[in-house]
Every structure is written in structure tokens, then in C-alpha cells.
Symmetry: C2
């Protein structure tokens, strides 16, 4: 091991091989403080060639490598185990914007670029990079790619996968694949790019990417609708999408419990409606044409929805301030949850048309097994993605509630599976869902995944124990 450390120092420089507990602190624990590990060293390469040399060295020595970006993951995918024998490969020193092309609408970046830096570089060039999520000030694009990040713009622009044109990847044995192409069309063989996107650092280390840019939105309008029930949310969504088309850039859903929680616990949240409805939807339209009459369009649509009984009331923001106040209700849920005490969380996706039926079924099943839990159900309804969270019953203590994690996961995820849904819509598998995966993936899919892992990483040095069971 001393020999390996010496070789790593030779590759990246002694200053970039961190071995002391103090220096490693920010790398060995995930941001939620849920997963903790110990590392042989944190290695911080400054170039793709250095990444290649590090992997060659580790592959030869049989040392396992945990790739890490901004360390903002939701599933423990970037935290080492407790052995103290793993190397954390931190990409954050590789943070150059390599090139920006406003005519081709592409940007080429190092994997360690922070998402907000890329958004800003796009804006500075008169373009728009749509990926947007809570951690954007510290997450890196390499992590976004490795986990196929979602966020609040998926309805209109797709997941990270849809925003990538080309990749540069270092394979386990140190070979560099230069797939940094800026093409909208290329039918010359297998889609290697999408194999690495979403593979959580288990098949290769992404070191660079070419991303799509878009025309910047020049007009935006936000509204909130009071819904008579869950099925109405789908009817309203269908109505908005049919006429507004891609102007519909967000369609978020919250049940009444979430709104109540936010009003009680999140600072600065104001009740949107005098009488609290069973559920609310937040819709945002945007347009590249500054002169587009989005407010008029949305007013028409919401009036028709109220007429049709799909909404009981609606409010359209008349200013940026009012729009922020509406978004505050949606975005305050996370903060309110933290203050209100522990929750058991699920990040699930369903066929959109099945969302209302699923919610009805799931509530029935959970309530029958564990009466009195508080349901906090919200999410990106337009993507079929629900954050399906459960809070302890008033009479339950935290420990008794936590003991339900496994059984509740099984209850909720079994039903998700019956609806042909996904047990991880946007957060990935990491350590969090790894042991649940075999229960829900088909045998053939799992065989293919293990075969691919074996093909790309025969010595199993890349992020072992993440995503797949070893």
C-alpha cells in the first residue's frame, strides 16, 4: 500500500494525495451524514491523463477506486467502505470549461465543473443549460452524468442523459475513450455514451463531456391550482400539455399534508388558497419569445379547467415575487420535513396515467399495515416521479418508526413494481437501494448488468458494492 501511495504521489503530485484524517474529512462522509467510510487516500488528479495513470496503477495493484464529484449524491454512491483500503478519486480539480459554441449550441466541460458554473457560462454566451437541482451550487457535472440526474426541468428538457452529446471516459484499465463529439446525429455503432451515463462510476470514470445548450427562455409565468383530488391532477396536466405543449416547463404536485407541513414549518410560506384543498398543482409555462402572452394562455387554460371541475380555484402570479411565493410552497417541503422530524423516503416513478390509482392503492395498503402514518406525497407529476414519504404516527417513537424502514420499503416498492414503476426515479441506486434491486429487476436484466460490469471492470476496482451486489 505504501508503494501504491508513492506511485499515486508520483502521478498527481504529493499535494494531491490526501491521507490525513483531517484532510479526508470532507470526502469520506456523504453530505447527509448517512454514509461514512475510511479511505486509503483521496487522490485529486488534474487531467485526464492523470486519471488514466491513477486507474492503471490501482487496477494493477488491485486497489479499489471510488469516483467522487461534489459529494452531493442521495444514495451513498460516492462514499468509500470502512476498510480503509479504498482510494477516493476526486474529480473536482478538473474544472475547466473547455469550449463553448453558441451556434452549435454546445458546451464542452471537464467532469469536475460545478453545475452552476456551467449554467452561468451558458448564460454568458446567450444560451441556456437546463439541468437544475437543489445541489447545483456544489454538485459536479461528472456526478450528474454518473447518476443521470433529474431535477426540476426534466418535463421539458429530459434527464441528464438527454442533455449529453459526447463523453470522455477513462476505463478501469486506464484506456481513454475520447467520445467527445458535438453531433446531433451519429449512427456509426453501439451507443457507448449511454452505457456510462447512469452507471454510477462502476463501468468507467467520466472525465469530460459535450453538453447540449438551448435557446434561453425569455418569458415565464407561474400558477397554482387547487385540486378537488388526485385524478384531477392528471386531467389538468393533460389539458395544459395538449395546448401549451413544451411551454409547460414544470408541473409539480403536492398533497394537502405537504402544504400543511410547509405552512407550519417552512419560513416565509403563505397559504395560497383560503380553504385548504386536498391537493395542489404548481404549473410553470415558459417561452423563448419575449412577446408570448403566456399569462393569457394560462388564464384560458385554468378557466377551462375550473369549468370542467379539474380545479376548484387557481392563482396566477402577477410578478416575479408572487411566482417565488408559489414556488416557496413546493420548495419548502424539504426544509419543513427536516424540522418536522424523521421521514422514510421513496423516490419512485410510475406510468403517468397510473399515478392517481397508485396513490389510492398505496395509501390503502400502508394504512392497513401500519395505521396512523402521515403521508407526505409530492413530486414531479409531469415526469411520473413522486417523492413518497412517510412520517411516524403521533404515538410512535422514532426508533419504532425507523424499525419499519425495511417493511415499508417492501410494501411501497412491491406496489410500485406491480404498477411497472421504478424504485429509483432520479436518485440512483448507490448503497441505498442496492440490496432491493434483485427483488425488482428481471433476472435477464440483472444478468446483463453483471455481465457488463465483468466486461468493463474485470478486476472489480470501480466503485465496488455500489449499484450491484459484488
Amino acid at each position: 500500500m505504501t508503494d501504491v501511495l508513492e506511485r499515486l504521489r508520483g502521478i498527481v503530485g504529493a499535494a494531491h494525495v490526501l491521507t490525513s484524517t483531517g484532510d479526508q474529512q470532507a470526502y469520506v462522509v456523504d453530505w447527509m451524514k448517512k454514509y461514512r467510510g475510511v479511505a486509503l487516500a483521496v487522490v485529486r488528479p488534474g487531467s485526464t491523463d492523470e486519471v488514466a495513470a491513477v486507474l492503471r496503477c490501482c487496477n494493477d495493484a488491485g486497489v479499489t477506486v471510488i469516483p467522487q464529484g461534489g459529494n452531493t449524491g442521495m444514495a451513498g454512491g460516492a462514499t468509500p467502505d470502512g476498510s480503509g483500503a479504498q482510494v477516493i478519486l476526486s474529480l473536482t480539480r478538473m474544472n475547466r470549461i473547455r469550449e463553448i459554441d453558441p451556434v452549435g449550441n454546445t458546451i464542452t466541460v471537464d467532469a469536475g465543473c460545478v453545475l452552476a458554473t456551467i449554467q452561468q457560462a451558458a448564460r454568458d454566451a446567450g444560451c441556456f443549460f437546463p439541468l437544475s437541482l437543489g445541489a447545483e451550487g456544489s454538485c459536479t457535472i461528472g456526478g450528474n452524468l454518473a447518476t443521470n440526474a433529474g431535477g426540476i426541468a426534466v418535463l421539458r428538457y429530459g434527464n441528464m442523459r438527454e442533455l449529453a452529446l459526447g463523453l470522455e471516459v477513462v476505463l478501469a484499465d486506464g484506456r481513454i475513450w475520447d467520445g467527445l463529439q458535438a453531433l446531433r446525429k451519429d449512427n456509426t455503432g453501439y451507443d457507448l455514451r449511454d452505457l456510462f451515463i447512469g452507471s454510477e462510476g462502476t463501468l468507467g470514470v467520466i472525465t469530460g463531456a459535450v453538453l447540449k445548450l438551448y435557446a434561453a427562455p425569455a418569458a415565464k409565468v407561474t400558477a397554482m391550482a387547487a385540486l378537488p383530488g388526485r385524478a384531477a391532477a392528471l386531467a389538468l396536466f393533460t389539458r395544459l400539455r395538449a395546448r401549451a405543449g413544451d411551454r409547460l416547463t414544470a408541473f409539480e404536485f403536492m398533497t394537502r399534508n405537504c402544504v400543511d407541513l410547509v405552512l407550519k414549518h417552512a419560513s416565509g410560506a403563505v397559504a395560497p388558497f383560503a380553504a385548504a384543498p386536498p391537493a395542489i398543482a404548481l404549473a410553470e409555462l415558459s417561452d423563448t419569445d419575449a412577446e408570448a402572452d403566456l399569462a393569457g394562455l394560462l388564464e384560458d387554460l385554468l378557466a377551462a379547467a375550473v369549468e370542467a371541475g379539474e380545479a376548484t380555484d387557481a392563482v396566477i402570479a402577477q410578478s416575479g415575487e408572487q411566482a417565488k411565493a408559489l414556488w416557496r410552497i413546493r420548495e419548502g417541503i424539504s426544509e419543513a420535513q427536516v424540522r418536522a422530524g424523521k421521514t422514510i423516503k421513496h423516490d419512485i416513478a410510475l406510468p403517468i396515467g397510473q399515478l392517481a390509482a397508485f396513490m389510492d392503492d398505496c395509501e390503502r395498503v400502508v394504512e392497513a399495515a401500519y395505521p396512523g402514518l402521515n403521508f407526505l406525497v409530492f413530486g414531479h407529476l409531469g415526469d411520473g416521479n413522486l417523492h413518497y414519504n412517510l412520517q411516524r404516527a403521533p404515538q410512535m417513537d422514532d426508533d419504532a418508526f425507523y424499525a419499519l424502514t425495511g417493511p415499508l420499503n417492501a410494501l411501497v416498492h412491491d406496489l410500485v413494481h406491480r404498477y411497472r414503476g421504478s424504485i429509483s426515479a432520479e436518485h440512483g441506486v448507490g448503497q441505498l437501494r442496492r440490496d432491493e434491486l434483485p427483488r425488482y429487476k428481471s433476472v435477464v436484466a440483472l444478468q446483463m448488468m453483471h455481465d457488463l460490469k465483468q466486461l468493463f471492470d474485470p478486476a472489480c476496482i470501480l466503485n465496488p458494492g455500489k449499484l450491484l451486489q459484488s
Copy 2:
């Protein structure tokens, strides 16, 4: 072999194993009559289980299998070799629309469904399936998926890859992968779906798919602009996209030679401008909102473009008839080329911002090597995709011209490669570009492709000699 035929008859029924020359005729030659082969049999399974049994049988017997849909490919990817030992697996009997979900905006189909049938089913449900190409009346969705088809709606909706949510695939050894999910988000492991899309039947046989549907366009406007040169095309495209955003559903480009050829040879084409410009662009805007003032928007944009010198003149279609007449000029190119005599064709993609520079460079290089050829350059400029075709010089005979195919391919494709472009933007590799691929793919990419082929099809029974050299 007799034994294999008997077993195949046992699986699909004797009526669906075609062995006579007459019965096989429509299957052993591609539609362009460019590739001809002989088959042991054409096997026409009626279900996914039958496909699985056929592949198991062939894999055990070491008989190679050529998957085939509508037989409309552009690269000879579905034609057997001349050995008479290969089985053509025709999917056309599997042509059921399995399910359509207008709320979830998805349709689930058999691989043998004809594209136009799917378009119609979507329309009947008040939705829209955007894939559209010349062969849509006879190509099948399985072929579209296997070749990652492009067409005229890529600018707005993406390639086939972007339109697929889930797949059902039979692997070489007969295992069935049920990946038929209708989810917009799923981060539970490796992206198996995109590995099969675009793999030209060499990794597995696609038997079913879940496809995305969209809100139907309710307004449309078409215009043609006279351009002072090639660079102006990019400036005009950038201008339109910045304000019209996703309303811009087509941006097609043609050089003057193409327009001249169409006016001379294609029936019913009318000169769009009194004085013939060096190049023209055809732009189409569409909108899901029937009340959108697209003509007003496009008029504003084109007036500003003329003011800025990006166009010298423009005409906006005032009726569906006029729009058709403008499209006739673009769509007449294929017909005119056939009538005007043989061409050497290239289907290339480039970074969009490099298109004008590439065209200048390529013309210089080709003209220096082979003076007097006629350049017919047109294509989906908004996708960076050019059909870069060359016609013989007036004094040249056809044979002398054809002898230039190899050298001209090398000249054009070497330059494409230098610009980091693709030698097959939308037509695929098949037999047509197979032997050129090693010259342009990186060693690492080719290694990964061969490794994947070996992993998924160790006995090499699936479409051997297509895409990859054996």
C-alpha cells in the same frame, strides 16, 4: 440443415418458413436493389416466444440470423450474404398495437408495426408520434429502432433513440428481456435500452417497444429564404431558434445546384425566387396552440434576417398548397437525382457551427482532386446533417465516375473526421460503411464494440458482417 428447417417449421408453422426462391424474393434483396443475397429460409414468427424459440434453435445449431423489418434500410443491414446458409428473421407478422395511453402519452407496439400505422394510431387517440421519413408507409418500428432512424422531425423531437421509453428484446441465446417500461425516469442501473437501439440487429432482436407520444401540433407555417451564401444559413438558423425555440420543427438547406436539378427534373416544382440564390433554406414552425400567430412571428424574424443580410429574400406560404409547393423543392431532390443519373452519396453529420467551413473546405479538396464534379449538397442543417452527394462531371462516363467511389469516400470522410463529424448521420453502417469504420472510429471505441458483440452474441449468429467486421 434439413433438421434445422424442420425445427423452425415446428416453432412458427410450416406456412411461415419460406424456402422457395419465389417466396423469398421480396426478402433477399434490399429495396434499392444494391445488395442481393440468398437465404436458407425466411422465418416469420408470430410472437415474442416464437422469436425466442427460433433464436435458441439457430444459436444451438450455429445458424446465422438476419433480422428484417420492412426491408427499407439504406445500408444493406437486413440483406443476407450469398452463402444460402443464413436465416432471415422477418418480424412483419408481429404487427399489433399492444396498448395506447393518451394520459401517459405512450404507445406500446410490436416491432413489426409499420411506422405509418403507429402515426395513425397516435392521431386516432388525439396524440402525435413524431418520427417521419420517406419510407414510413412500409418501414417497421423495429427497423427504425435497430437503426436509430432520423427523418424530418429530428430537430424538434430527436432521433428514434429519444422517442423510445422501453424495449422488449430477444437475446441471441433465446432469453427474453422484458424492458417494456413506460417511465420518463428510471435510475436503477445500466441503460440496456440504448445498447440495443442503433445496434442494427447485431446484439439482440427487438420484438416490442414503448414509445413516447406528444401533444399534436395544431398550427404550422412554412417559409423559404433566399440565402447569400452558406454562412448565412447558420446565422439565419441561430436567429430563428433563439426566438422561435422549439416551434422551429424543420430547418432544411439546399445549395443552388440542388434547386436547379429539382426545377429541371422533378415534376411540379416551381422556382421559389425570380433570381436563383446561391442557397436556400426551408423553415417550418409549428405549435400545439391553434391560436398561435406563427405567420406573424416568422414574418418578424425573416424581416430582421433580410435587414441583417442573412437572407436576400423570403416567402411565407399563405396556404397548405403553397407550403406543399415549398416542400416539393426539398423533397424533389431524391427524385431529381435519380432522373439526372448516378451519384456518389454521403450521409454525414458535423458540429453545426462548422457546417459552412466544412462545405468550403470539402469543395476545395474534391475539386482539386477530381475537377468538374457537380456538388449536390442539401440536408437537415438544424441537425448538422448533410447529404453530400456528387454527380459525375459532364465529360465523364458512368464507369469512370463509379471507379471514384472509394477515393471520393476517403476524401470526403477523411475531412468529416478531421472536423470531428460522423460518416453515417442517420443511415447506419450495415454493409455500406462497415469497412470504412475502422479508419474513423478510435481504437478504444472499436475494442469496446467488439467486446460488447462478443458478450451478447458469443456464437456470432446475429447479423454477422453487418456494422462490425467479423
